[in-house]
Symmetry: C2
Subunit: 336 residues, 2 copies
Amino acid sequence: MSDMNRVALDAMGGDHAPFEMVKGAVDAVNKDKRVKVFLVGKGELIKAELEKHQFDSSQIEIVNATEVIETAEPPVNAIRRKKDSSIVVGMKMVKNKEADAFVSAGSSGAILVGGQTLVGRIKGVERPPLAPLIPTAKGVSLLIDCGANVDARPSHLVQFAKMGSIYMEHVVGIKDPKVAIVNIGAEEEKGNALVKETFPMLKELDDINFVGSIEARNIPYGDADVIVTEAFSGNVILKLYEGLGAVLINKIKEGMMTTTRSKIGAFMVKPALKETLKTFDASEYGGAPLLGLRGLVVKTHGSATAKEVSNSILQCITFKEQKINEKIMECIQTEQ
Amino acid sequence: MSDMNRVALDAMGGDHAPFEMVKGAVDAVNKDKRVKVFLVGKGELIKAELEKHQFDSSQIEIVNATEVIETAEPPVNAIRRKKDSSIVVGMKMVKNKEADAFVSAGSSGAILVGGQTLVGRIKGVERPPLAPLIPTAKGVSLLIDCGANVDARPSHLVQFAKMGSIYMEHVVGIKDPKVAIVNIGAEEEKGNALVKETFPMLKELDDINFVGSIEARNIPYGDADVIVTEAFSGNVILKLYEGLGAVLINKIKEGMMTTTRSKIGAFMVKPALKETLKTFDASEYGGAPLLGLRGLVVKTHGSATAKEVSNSILQCITFKEQKINEKIMECIQTEQ
């Protein structure tokens, strides 16, 4: 049982719960024998969904939780009051070592608050950052932090750089990942107070491959593997990525439908184009880990479908097998 | 002469100077009788370029300046030392009322520093913001500030909102423009310390149409006309817009070239697609004004071609004719 990867999945979170959550869990266990999924949420609903699927019943278990935290609820209150919600129950499983990881497409705020207060931080970690993978021309980069800690301090950013580097090397498999800090110019003397103070601290670290500043323009080209920034800019980058991608693709579709000639052309380019745009689809890369917790918490998109859910569950296996938390502990404690 | 719009153009700034600068000036005067362009820079070089073109010679005049500020030079020093550079000479023309506006594709840093120290601020304006127009699904939005003032204070953002609103209404022609502040969530209680402090101040203003927070995801959809933010996030938004747009369009081109079928399709969609993507091309909208100065300073892209230069020059006419600076003065002084 200890070799099994135990993932608690919030069956009630996200726009397409429980349907896509249950389907994602089934897909994951059917793909990998090493994972057991606990579906946390309203038992009757989950059971009804599960009956539609075929899977090894030893790999999926329902954990009943009667309440649901809505995305609009103030997170601190919600975590405190809804003790029988899928988020609180799932996170407590991680805290009590009944699960190795918790995956949720529910309220970001509740997941961030719950991660810190219920699961708890690794000793020495000041702030656990949320770190999604974003698609680039070369593959993916890790954006760290993208929403967990506004008004961060330089020491937080230094820890983000270290944790991000470990994640990219051992979960994503990029050897000696290039770490850069988001800045408004490439030169060392540029930046706001936070970046100017953080830059020399990053430069001094021996255990990461710090390559200096990165301008936002170069992020989509994949010039760095780990993109360090405080949560406000990180959130702006992540959300603009999503919004601009969607608007541009719509514009292009519109453009293709303006003349008869272009409509015929569109019909012919469609299959090839679909394949290419897939590489720019964030859901291909699973959810965003909240790093630095005593256990793993993964936030997927609110709009997550079975594919993203399944990818997020499988990502938890690599996280455990690569002993990411042990590596984070080691690297954070060396600095103390 | 006082009805004439006098624009000093930095003939030496940008990647394609003086060729594209001179061509842009010629295009502008050939399009509009109401403008006179002073081409500031190395006289011999400009003269040689001018000889290739036809234009009304009363509309273009060369102003000799022997030095050039390079983009890599530390701006404060450059402005102080290179007294005979095209940027310093052009800005002094605005200061001395020999020109109404100065347009440059040169060093952003030097333009920002020069604008503040040589041209000078309108009384009451705390920080002059740089405010480019960015393309959206609905047209354009004004992004203010996008690089002039890092570590801004709430009172600066309030002035950005007012000046941006005047610019969008009277230069771009959007009646009662919607003003929003960039935030990491739509709710009023979200945000970092700066946004939380600024939000209620914006809410209290009667003279702008404040619509609340905007998440970066919604910027490309055109949900607000004036996007208020401090310079660091603003710069991240602007540069990510450019980078992500370019990378996505490349991906799409690549995708269209993967199979024989898609290649034929690509040939057929190309003309329609080109037309659509034009609306997402920042150079269509001219340069970014540095607002709140005693005179107008416009920064165009370093890569500006004649079209952007010409559009930027013509934009100066509207700015003067609509008495934007008088309107800014009035609105800033009311608040004192």
